[in-house]
């Protein structure tokens, strides 16, 4: 009789499902703490949507080190946790809209041999902000939010580059380390 000792995980190529589960737990926890830290620091310039997006370090790391499925998984679990603990349905909708668009763009650019993690992260930061504006404009039925676009494009650039640089550095540190 065959024992299903090593169930293959649907999230990664690893044959060890338990190890994958543990790793995903760690990644989600790190992402969650990063968003919490950001919330506590309350870095605000008086424009809604301007954020550092430190938690996307985890998304980018998961994308490059483990794979697209892991990136999607960690991102959405973090958003769900955040909305559940600190936010409301509105916040969930905005975060989800930003996340869906930015993940789609990042996954696409990640497949193409055009950009380094910094470029991918930059595109992700911008598309995240654009997605949020679109979602807010649709939900509030006002086109006036276009007013925020220039500042959100610039802030998306800055945070995207920052996140990209940190993730790149992390990826290099973990290059020869076994995590799965």
């Amino acid at each position: 009789m065959k024992h299903p000792k090593h169930k293959k995980s649907p999230l990664t190529k690893s044959k060890n499902a338990a190890k994958t589960a543990a790793l995903m737990g760690v990644l989600v926890a790190v992402a969650f703490v990063l968003s919490y830290v950001e919330m506590v620091l309350h870095f605000s310039v008086g424009i809604p949507g301007v954020k550092l997006g430190l938690c996307h370090i985890v998304t980018l790391f998961a994308l490059y080190r483990i794979g697209p499925k892991a990136a999607i998984f960690t991102c959405f679990v973090r958003i769900g946790l955040n909305a559940w603990l600190f936010g409301n349905a509105m916040i969930l909708a905005y975060s989800a809209a930003g996340a869906i668009l930015s993940l789609a763009v990042m996954l696409l650019l990640y497949r193409l041999p055009l950009f380094s993690p910094v470029g991918v992260s930059l595109a992700g930061g911008i598309s995240h902000n654009v997605g949020q504006i679109l979602c807010a404009a649709i939900m509030m039925e006002t086109a006036g939010l276009v007013w925020y676009l220039p500042i959100l494009l610039v802030s998306g650039c800055l945070s995207g580059v920052l996140v990209g640089l940190i993730s790149g550095w992390l990826l290099r540190r973990f290059e020869h380390r076994h995590i799965l």
Binding site: S44, G46, I47, M90, Y110, L112, V118, A123, L145, R172
Partner: protein, 127 residues
Amino acid sequence: MTAPNTDRKLKKNDIILLAVVLGVAAVLFVSIWLLAPKGEVAVVTVDGEEFGAYDLLKDQEILLPEGHKLVIENGEARMVYAPCRDQICVHHIPVSRKGETIVCLPYRVVVTVSSRYRRGFYEASEA
């Protein structure tokens, strides 16, 4: 399925992307912000429905249905109280140019500066 990009060095494309986005942002900034004339009224919408329009030349305080407090002073509108936790609209810079917007995401309250009164809803605040 193509192989994912494993080269982690910064590429020329990254710089080009950054330059293009910053260029677009600069063009939008000039066209939306700097070229906008001063507005005349602050239009408040709640949940996509127009709640009222208030003269920017008249100093006044307006209480909004969700508990927000909007103050108009020296031709500028700003939010001084919001019932939510993040207080982003309260920290927002005062708005005075046409098209400028203060938005409260959790309560779906939008304050937009507009150029002229529209007929019908303005009487209430005129009194």
